[in-house]
């Protein structure tokens, strides 16, 4: 059993399609909790339903104060920041971050604060640079930073910015990210000393 028990994923433009592919590769018995933020409009509350159809992983729309457990995926609801504290979901309607709510940085920063080296952060396709500061926080707390290869992303800016600001552990095409996450969680793979 590895120490990596929390996976946080952030995506923006092109993110719903990317996530559908990614989560289809995650198993029902994944030994980690998965928390997901996608920039969407305040009206789109169907993301959890959409993703639940693509994965054997138990998938729910995150609710405030919900306990966080392994083998479950929690999707940020519209118009709320999704953060974690004491192994529980904390939803807030605080000020927008990077012009978004939910935003990726608050999830990543709170996960880094609460789970330290137990966190794997994943930044996928999107415009601008939400997730860069969050991924840096994950990294500096001893967690693992994963970025979708910009050349493989529908919109390369967000992964490219994360690469620019963070010394990431893995930069891979989408199709290789789910297998990597499984290996990291199972402890079959550890980040190398030398990173790209």
């Amino acid at each position: 059993m590895s120490a990596h028990r929390m996976i946080v994923i952030g995506a923006s433009a092109g993110g719903i399609e990317a996530l559908q592919q990614l989560v289809s590769g995650l198993p029902r018995d994944l030994g980690a909790a998965v928390l997901v933020v996608v920039h969407t409009s305040a009206q789109n509350g169907y993301l959890a339903d959409v993703l639940a159809r693509q994965t054997p992983l138990n998938t729910v729309k995150a609710r405030h104060d919900m306990p966080i457990s392994s083998g479950r995926m929690y999707i940020a609801p519209p118009d709320h920041h999704l953060t974690v504290e004491d192994s529980r979901v904390v939803l807030t309607r605080g000020p927008k971050v990077n012009r978004h709510r939910p935003a990726i940085d608050p999830l990543f920063e709170s996960a880094a604060q609460a789970y330290r080296r137990g966190v794997i952060g994943v930044v996928l396709t999107g415009y601008l640079d939400d997730g860069s500061a969050g991924l840096a926080a994950v990294k500096s707390s001893g967690g693992i930073a994963v970025v979708q290869d910009p050349a493989d992303a529908v919109v390369p800016n967000m992964p490219r910015n994360a690469l620019m600001h963070v010394n990431v552990d893995f930069c891979l095409p989408l199709s290789q990210i789910a297998p990597l996450l499984i290996e990291l969680v199972e402890g079959k793979k550890v980040p190398g000393k030398k990173r790209k």
Partner: protein, 140 residues
């Protein structure tokens, strides 16, 4: 019990992760509050008292939107003024004070001309093929 109380309080709190920073010379594009600059590693971010937080690129985008909104506001103010002065000119012309009416009409045309120039500037900016993205691609 203690945790519940904290979570409850937190849910009404403005921001999850509190940051500290130095006051900057910039104001928040969303609420006009003073922005504090935060340095995390190599990245400079901005946060206002309320808790609006901006990464480097989102700050730029927010400023773009703010500038556009204010230029439209100025355009609207000028067009409204042109309309109002023109109505005044009509009233005065009816009262047979043609020289004064002409003066007002000229002022109305001047306001309309300023508004036209602003619209031209806005249109020119907007016709760039997605200016924002083109610029961020160039800077790489």
């Amino acid at each position: 019990m203690e945790r519940r109380a904290r979570l409850k309080r937190r849910s009404g709190e403005s921001t999850k992760v509190k940051h500290q920073g130095e006051p900057s010379v910039f104001t928040c594009p969303d609420c006009q509050g003073t922005l504090f600059s935060l340095r995390d590693g190599g990245m400079i971010r901005f946060q206002c008292r309320i808790g609006h937080l901006y990464s480097p690129e989102s700050m730029l985008e927010a400023q773009d939107d703010n500038v556009e909104r204010l230029m439209w506001s100025a355009t609207r103010a000028l067009e409204e003024q042109a309309e109002y002065i023109s109505q005044m000119a009509d009233q005065i012309a009816k009262a047979s004070d043609q020289p004064t009416a002409d003066g007002y009409a000229a002022k109305s045309r001047s306001a309309m001309e300023k508004a036209r120039k602003l619209r031209l500037l806005l249109d020119t900016d907007l016709t760039l093929p997605n200016g924002r993205i083109a610029r961020s691609a160039q800077s790489r």
